[in-house]
């Protein structure tokens, strides 16, 4: 094959260190930058979880490495934990990180449609992260009204005592929205417009479908929250009364605007995480994804339905009770496409041939956890059951069984899987498996007890249980959860060591160590710029594994049919 070096590549060599690695417009660099940024923010998010867990298990004691903690600080830390994890870890890691790195490669393009816009989206996210960190140093502390920032608690500073911190929270969130609006535009345009020849929509890797759906859902749902954020800022700083009841405002308007975005947002996070599992599973099961088209249609259906379920967060909010049953019905309907996707993933495993690599373990563990998260959602989607469960720890456990697995297990599945492509070296598989089993064990150890805490009636966001006689018996559950949380943090050590060691001293990887079919594996590791020395040509969908009568159990998307015939004939 004649590899003609395009003029572009020459240019890249000419660029200085700053243009090449810091203000790069190369989607692969930007993807890694997003991952690094979200890893740093994850330290903050994880540390805040540590403080929360310690406080809940041993309320009388001072948190080692932090100090004693009071109830107002606790509320601020809970707020930071939620905000950081959703907006500054999950989204940048799954969308900014994996989305950026993989979408152009998987569709056969040399870069995103708008590389400079892409760089700008990353730097905007950086500024957003810095603004949020800065808010933690505001005089009265950071925002303390929860990541949901219900009004009037967040609207009038006298209720929390927090002034600048909440304003900076609004600013950081707005910048994050701007960053992902830019990114979303790039994702959709690239996936629709820059596909290689032969890459029809129904031949796209499911990860790309998930990312596009997530991007579209985000783009269409974030508007009302931007409007609400502007209104909140105006209320706080210009004395408007959008949400102030004493002047005719309505606190429920905030809830509607927030959740109109907030619900689709969780699918924006969940779909890409599931998408990673959908890429990893067929490779290590050596079997096509069961029901590709069903999964695509279910994904689109879930994306659409996600816009009409939001008020299930508001059943007991004081909104008209007649709205409860309609939203219950739409919410229950959204379980159908997800059921289809989950059943299809399980069917993919049936009569397959599974190699339990670290990546596969994470994908399977993520799926298993997500299933529990999904079914516990029914208790919340049913209006009557939600009367009991709303605002309790049951909700906390539910969303940690959905958001956490897709981000953590899905994310690590992706990291162990694509690491060779990103860095040209292999991660240690044994330590990867240790990382998985310890994490899986401790993760469940944290959140199963928390389901029970919620069923026992404990509200959320409480500094300690001792005020209520009915909750005191639940205290041991918090201790178990915290011990497991400490275990979970410790379990990340093998990963961190493995990651950095492998980056510099890992075994050099061949270009397709997993024998996978998607386009990124046809290229040398580490990757060049531009990605494809010769524009690829696609002939089939990505999951042709164990096709009968072939000499290999995999069939890359870009392998011409004539070569396939030759391989068949050779048997």
């Amino acid at each position: 094959m004649n590899i003609a070096i395009k003029p572009h590549e020459h240019e890249q060599h000419q660029l200085g260190f700053v243009r090449r690695y810091i203000f790069s417009t190369d989607h692969k660099v930007i993807g890694k930058q997003y991952m690094a940024l979200s890893a740093l923010m994850a330290i903050i998010g994880g540390f805040s979880a540590y403080i929360i867990r310690w406080q809940l298990a041993w309320p009388e004691s001072s948190v080692p490495g932090w100090g004693p903690i009071g109830p107002d600080q606790y509320n601020a830390i809970v707020t930071m934990h939620g905000t950081v994890m959703v907006f500054f870890v999950a989204m940048p890691f799954l969308l900014g990180g994996f989305g950026n790195f993989l979408i152009p490669l998987m569709v056969g393009a040399d870069d995103m449609a708008f590389p400079r816009l892409n760089a700008m989206s990353f730097w905007t996210q950086c500024v957003a992260s810095l603004v949020l960190i800065a808010s933690m140093f505001a005089p009265e502390g950071p925002a303390a009204a929860g990541w949901t920032a219900y009004v009037p608690l967040s609207d009038n500073p006298i209720y929390t005592g927090v002034y600048l911190g909440q304003d900076l929270w609004i600013l950081a969130s707005a910048l994050e929205f701007a960053s992902f609006l830019m990114g979303g535009v790039n994702f959709v345009t690239t996936a629709l417009n820059l596909r290689a020849s032969g890459m029809t929509l129904m031949r796209l890797p499911l990860f790309v479908w998930m990312e596009i759906t997530a991007a579209v859902v985000f783009l269409l749902s974030v508007g009302p929250l931007i409007a609400a954020a502007i209104m909140l800022l105006l209320d706080r700083r210009l004395g408007t009364s959008f949400f102030r009841p004493d002047k005719g405002g309505d606190p429920l308007l905030w809830e509607h605007l927030f959740w109109f975005f907030g619900h689709p947002e969780v699918y924006v996070v969940a779909l890409p995480g599931v998408g990673i599992m959908l890429e990893v599973m067929p490779v290590f099961a050596r079997k096509p994804i069961f029901g590709y088209k069903m999964i695509v249609y279910s994904t689109i259906a879930a994306g659409l339905l996600s816009f009409i379920v939001w008020a299930h967060h508001m059943f007991v909010s004081g909104m008209d009770p007649r709205l409860a049953t309609p939203f219950s019905i739409t919410t229950i309907m959204i379980s159908v496409p997800f059921a289809i996707i989950v059943f299809a993933m399980i069917a993919t495993l049936w009569r397959s041939s599974i190699r339990f690599s670290a990546a596969m373990l994470f994908a399977l563990g993520g799926l298993a956890s997500f299933i529990l998260g999904g079914v516990t959602g029914i208790f919340l989607g049913s209006q009557a059951s939600d009367i009991y469960m709303h605002g309790t720890y049951f909700v906390v456990a539910h969303f940690h069984y959905t958001m956490f697995p897709v981000t953590f297990f899905g994310g690590f599945a992706g990291l162990y899987f694509w690491f060779p492509k990103m860095f040209g070296r292999a991660m240690n598989e044994l330590w990867g498996k240790v990382h998985f089993w310890l994490s899986f064990l401790f993760f469940n150890g944290i959140f199963i007890p928390l389901f029970l805490v919620g069923i026992g009636g404990s509200p959320r966001r409480i500094y300690e249980l001792s005020s209520y006689d009915m909750l005191k018996p639940l205290q041991p559950l918090h201790v178990i959860a915290t011990v497991c949380a400490l275990g979970l943090f410790a379990a990340q050590i093998p990963f961190i060591v493995n990651l950095f060691y492998s980056m510099v001293r890992g075994k050099v990887a061949e270009k397709n160590p997993w024998h996978a079919n998607t386009l990124e594996w046809t290229l040398d590791s580490p990757l060049h710029h531009p990605n494809f020395p010769v524009p690829p040509r696609v002939y089939r969908d990505p999951y042709e594994y164990s096709v009968p009568n072939l000499s290999e159990d995999w069939l890359p998307q870009d392998q011409p049919p004539s070569l396939v015939e030759a391989a068949t004939a050779a048997r």
């Binding site: 009037p152 079997k287 299809a344 399980i346 299933i371 009557a384 009367i387 709303h390 164990s546």
Partner: protein
């Protein structure tokens, strides 16, 4: 199964809520065990054993797709059943507020609960109303109608023993009700983040026999012209 964990229910509509919770538990429990069971079983039975190859199957033929679509339809059907049961239980607590002579105005504020009884004149909103802090005394076996108000931010009145939960929103008077079936003291928790004192915003509902309650009302609400009295 859950009853060990949920506080005992002592309200008339609470049983219906519990029935829905249990219905959901059985249905999702079944699907949970089925899905996880298959996932584990297939993972183990399909572990790689050379030279056995995976079975090439794309799941796109109708007779294959039905294995996914039929269970999904079953899920849909069961879900709609859950919603129907849920609707009845929901209406009971939220839409149908039985008439009663006992009306209490509940005021939530940072960080406690106030309960206002109609005074001797029997009408709420008149100068002889009596307001008590934190403890609501009510008679057993009678419908108690509540009007929930907030002085400042959104709170939420959560009485686990009654399966009663209703957010309390400033600028609104939100109706609620309950009828307790057993005397006792039952805690109220605030279940919506309302500031630094959220965790300790505890109240209690003291359900008394008719006689006990009549005496309590006599001592605390009916005889004095005080507009506010602390509970004994």
């Amino acid at each position: 199964m859950l009853s060990g964990w949920m506080p005992p229910n002592v309200s008339t509509f609470g049983g219906q809520i519990d029935s829905v919770v249990y219905l959901i538990l059985y249905i999702v429990g079944f699907f949970f065990l089925l899905a996880e069971g298959l996932l584990i079983y297939f993972s183990i039975s399909s572990r790689r054993r050379a030279p056995r190859q995976a079975h090439y199957n794309r799941g796109e033929r109708p007779r294959e797709a039905v294995w996914i679509l039929v269970p999904a339809l079953v899920v849909l059907g069961l879900d709609l059943g859950i919603d129907s049961a849920g609707h009845h239980a929901w209406e009971l607590e939220k839409s149908i507020r039985p008439p009663s002579t006992i009306e209490i105005k509940v005021t939530a504020k940072q960080f406690n609960w106030e309960f206002t009884y109609a005074g001797p004149d029997g009408k709420l909103g008149t100068p002889d109303d009596v307001t008590v802090e934190n403890d609501l005394h009510v008679p057993v076996g009678q419908v108690i109608r509540l009007s929930l108000n907030s002085e400042d931010v959104i709170h939420s009145m959560w009485v686990p023993n009654f399966r009663l939960k209703q957010d309390v929103v400033p600028g609104r008077a939100i109706p609620a009700w309950f009828e307790a079936t057993k005397p006792g003291t039952y805690e109220i928790a605030c279940s919506e983040l309302c500031g630094f004192g959220h965790y300790s915003m505890r109240g209690s509902i003291i359900v008394q026999t008719a006689d006990q309650h009549a005496k309590w009302m006599n001592d605390n609400v009916l005889h004095a012209a005080n507009t506010s009295a602390s509970a004994k």
